[in-house]
C-alpha cells in the first residue's frame, strides 16, 4: 500500500509551495507554449529561451495552475533544464517519461512490458526529479506529473521548426 509520503515527498511540497523560475520571458527571443490537461484542468505555461548558437537553454520561466504534483513537476523541470544543452534536455525528457510510463504502459495498454523503457533510464541522472518516482504508485496522478514534460517537448519541437 502506497502512502502519502510516497507521493508528496518533502522536495515536491517545497517546489509546490515555492515554485522556481516563476514568471514570464519576452517572446521572442523566448518561445511560449501552453500545456493543458482537460481531464483535470491543470495548466502549464512555459517560456523557453534557447540560445541558437550553443543549442542551450538560456532561460526558462513557468506559469499556470493545477495540483501540487503538476505544479511541482513543472518547477522541478524548469530547474533541471535551465542552462542545459538541448541534447541533455531531450535525454532528460525521455528518461522522465520512461520513469512514469513503466506504469503508464500497463494502464494505457500499448502492450510493452517496460523493458525498453528501462533502457532510457540507464545512466541519466534525474537528481531531484527522482522524488516524482512515487507518482507511479498513483496511476491517476501520472498525467499530472508528465504535463510539464509534454509541454517542454512541444516547446522544443516548435523551437526546432522555427529555427529550421
Amino acid at each position: 500500500m502506497a502512502g502519502l509520503e510516497d507521493l508528496y515527498r518533502e522536495i515536491i511540497l517545497d517546489h509546490y509551495r515555492s515554485p522556481r523560475n516563476r514568471g514570464e520571458l519576452p517572446v521572442p527571443p523566448a518561445h511560449k507554449v501552453e500545456g493543458f490537461n482537460p481531464l483535470c484542468g491543470d495548466e502549464v505555461v512555459l517560456f523557453l529561451d534557447v540560445d541558437p548558437e550553443t543549442d542551450t537553454v538560456r532561460d526558462v520561466k513557468i506559469a499556470g495552475q493545477g495540483c501540487s504534483i503538476s505544479q511541482a513537476s513543472t518547477s522541478m523541470m524548469s530547474a533541471a533544464v535551465k542552462g542545459k544543452p538541448l541534447s541533455e534536455v531531450r535525454q532528460l525528457i525521455r528518461a522522465f517519461k520512461a520513469l512514469m510510463s513503466i506504469h503508464e504502459s500497463k494502464l494505457e495498454g500499448d502492450g510493452g512490458d517496460g523493458s525498453d523503457l528501462a533502457a532510457e533510464l540507464a545512466g541519466v541522472r534525474l537528481g531531484d526529479l527522482e522524488a516524482l518516482q512515487g507518482v507511479v504508485k498513483f496511476p491517476v496522478r501520472i498525467k499530472c506529473a508528465t504535463l510539464a514534460w509534454n509541454t517542454l517537448q512541444q516547446a522544443l519541437d516548435e523551437t526546432a521548426q522555427t529555427q529550421a
Binding site: 502512502g3 502519502l4 483535470c40 496522478r141
Partner: protein, 411 residues
C-alpha cells in the same frame, strides 16, 4: 433523529467491513456510484447459481425462471418511477445509453435543421454530448438555460428558449451542485410549445421518490449502479406511444419479429429496443436494489439525506469559514446530497489524495460537467455526496480529514 437506522444499514453493505490504510471506509462518492447491499449481491449470486440461462423463448425450466426474473425486474423498475405500464421500461447499459437511444431513434426520426433542443448549463456530459453529435450531424440548434447566482435554473427567458424547440432535455438533480429542478412546470412550459421532455433522472431517482406521471415527462433516463444496484444496466422510461412510433436503434436478436433477406419487422416494445442478450442477471440485481431501497422507504431516504446534507453544509461552514466555497443552492430543501466545494487554494486532486489517507472517499474533478465548470470558473471541485449508509460521523471524518489537508498543504 434520522429517519434511517444507519448503523444497521451499514451492516447490510459488505464493503464497510473493509478498511483502507487501517481506517474504516468513509464512502462519500455515491453520486458517482453507490455501494451494494448484500441483498443485491445475493440475488445476483442466486440467479447465476440456480436459475441461469439465456432468456426469451427458452422452453426449459431454468430458462423460464430466468425470463420470469428478468421481466419481474422490469415490473419493479416501472413501479419505482410510477410508470403507467411495465412495457414502457427499456433496459439499457446506463443512463448515458438511455439518452443516446432517444437521440439516435426518436430525435433522428423527428428533428432536422432549424429545430432546437433546450438544455441547461448544469447538464452532465451524458445529456450534452449526444445532442452535440446530433446537432453537428443535422444542424439542430442547441439552446442553454443559464444559472442564477444561487445555482438554480435562470428561467427568465424560458419562453424564448422554448420557442421553436422540439425537446427539453434537463436534469432533475445536478450531480455537481445538488440543485433539484422542479420538472413539472418545465414540462408544462415545454409541452405548451410542442416540445417533448426528457429528464436526466440519474441523480434524482436514487434519492427522491420519482413519479413520471406527476412530472408529465416523455422520457426519463437513469442507472442501476447509482441506486445500490449492479453496473452494466440502466433504464429508459418512455411513453408507450412514443416507443411504438420510434424506429429501432440497435439491430439483432430479440428486437425482431421476423427477418428475411430483404428486411425485418420489429418486435413489440420494449423488446424492440433490447437487441441481443441483455444484462439478465444485472436486471435481477437492479430489481433487488429497488426492493431494498423501497423497504427503507423513499420518503425516509430523502429525509435522512436532507439531515446529513444540512449537517455537512453547517459543519463545513462552521469549521472552515472563508477557506471554503460551496457551489450549490443555499436552501437545503431544494437540493440533494452532493456537496461540491473549493478549498483554501488546494487543488481538488490533492485534497482527495490526502483524504484517502484517512479512507475518506470523495470525488475530485469536473464531474463530467465541463460546461458547468466553465460557468463556475473553476477547473475542478471536490465533491462529497451522501446516501443511505452515511451519517454524521462520516461528515465528521470528512471535516477532520479536510483539516489535515489544510495543514499538510499550508504555505
Amino acid at each position: 433523529m434520522s429517519a434511517l437506522d444507519v448503523a444497521t444499514i451499514k451492516r447490510d453493505f459488505p464493503i464497510f467491513e473493509r478498511e483502507v490504510n487501517g481506517k474504516r471506509l468513509v464512502y462519500l462518492d455515491s453520486a458517482s456510484s453507490a455501494q451494494k447491499p448484500l441483498a443485491v449481491l445475493d440475488a445476483m449470486d442466486d440467479a447465476y447459481r440456480n436459475h441461469y440461462a439465456n432468456i426469451h423463448r427458452g422452453v426449459y425450466t431454468i430458462a423460464e425462471e430466468a425470463t420470469a426474473a428478468f421481466e419481474d425486474a422490469r415490473r419493479k423498475v416501472a413501479r419505482f418511477v410510477n410508470a403507467p405500464r411495465t412495457d414502457e421500461i427499456v433496459f439499457t447499459r446506463n443512463a448515458t445509453e438511455s439518452i443516446n437511444l432517444v437521440a439516435y431513434s426518436w430525435a433522428r426520426a423527428n428533428l432536422n435543421a432549424g429545430d432546437a433542443i433546450v438544455l441547461s448549463h448544469m447538464e452532465h456530459h451524458a445529456n450534452v454530448v449526444p445532442w452535440q453529435i446530433l446537432a453537428a450531424e443535422r444542424g439542430v440548434e442547441l439552446r442553454w438555460i443559464p444559472m442564477t447566482a444561487d445555482f438554480r435554473l435562470d428561467l427568465t427567458n424560458l419562453e424564448q428558449l422554448l420557442d421553436g424547440a422540439r425537446l427539453l432535455a434537463i436534469s432533475a438533480m445536478s450531480n455537481v451542485l445538488g440543485t433539484i429542478n422542479d420538472i413539472r412546470p418545465l414540462a408544462d412550459a415545454a409541452h405548451a410549445h410542442g416540445a417533448l421532455v426528457l429528464v436526466d433522472a440519474c441523480q434524482y431517482v436514487p434519492h427522491v421518490a420519482t413519479d413520471v406521471q406527476q412530472w408529465d415527462a416523455d422520457f426519463i433516463a437513469f442507472s442501476s449502479h447509482k441506486i445500490l444496484g449492479p453496473t452494466g444496466i440502466g433504464a429508459l422510461w418512455a411513453r408507450k406511444d412514443l416507443l411504438e412510433a420510434m424506429p429501432p436503434f440497435l439491430g439483432g436478436g430479440e428486437m425482431i419479429r421476423d427477418v428475411r433477406l430483404d428486411g425485418f419487422t420489429t418486435n413489440d416494445v420494449p423488446w424492440k429496443f433490447e437487441a441481443g442478450t441483455p444484462a439478465i442477471v444485472e436486471a435481477v440485481g437492479f430489481g433487488a436494489a429497488i426492493d431494498y431501497i423501497s423497504a427503507l422507504g423513499m420518503d425516509a431516504v430523502r429525509a435522512h439525506e436532507l439531515l446529513v446534507t444540512r449537517y455537512a453544509l453547517d459543519s463545513l461552514r462552521d469549521r472552515f469559514g472563508d477557506s471554503l466555497t460551496i457551489y450549490g443552492p443555499s436552501n437545503v430543501d431544494g437540493r440533494g446530497g452532493a456537496v461540491s466545494f473549493l478549498f483554501d487554494g488546494i487543488h481538488a486532486h490533492d485534497i482527495s489524495q490526502v483524504l484517502d489517507e484517512d479512507a475518506v472517499c470523495v470525488r475530485a474533478g469536473h464531474h463530467c460537467a465541463k460546461p458547468l465548470m466553465r460557468q463556475l470558473g473553476v477547473p475542478a471541485t471536490t465533491r462529497a455526496s451522501f446516501y443511505v449508509y452515511n451519517d454524521e460521523a462520516d461528515v465528521d471524518a470528512l471535516i477532520e480529514a479536510l483539516a489535515k489537508a489544510q495543514k499538510f498543504f499550508a504555505v
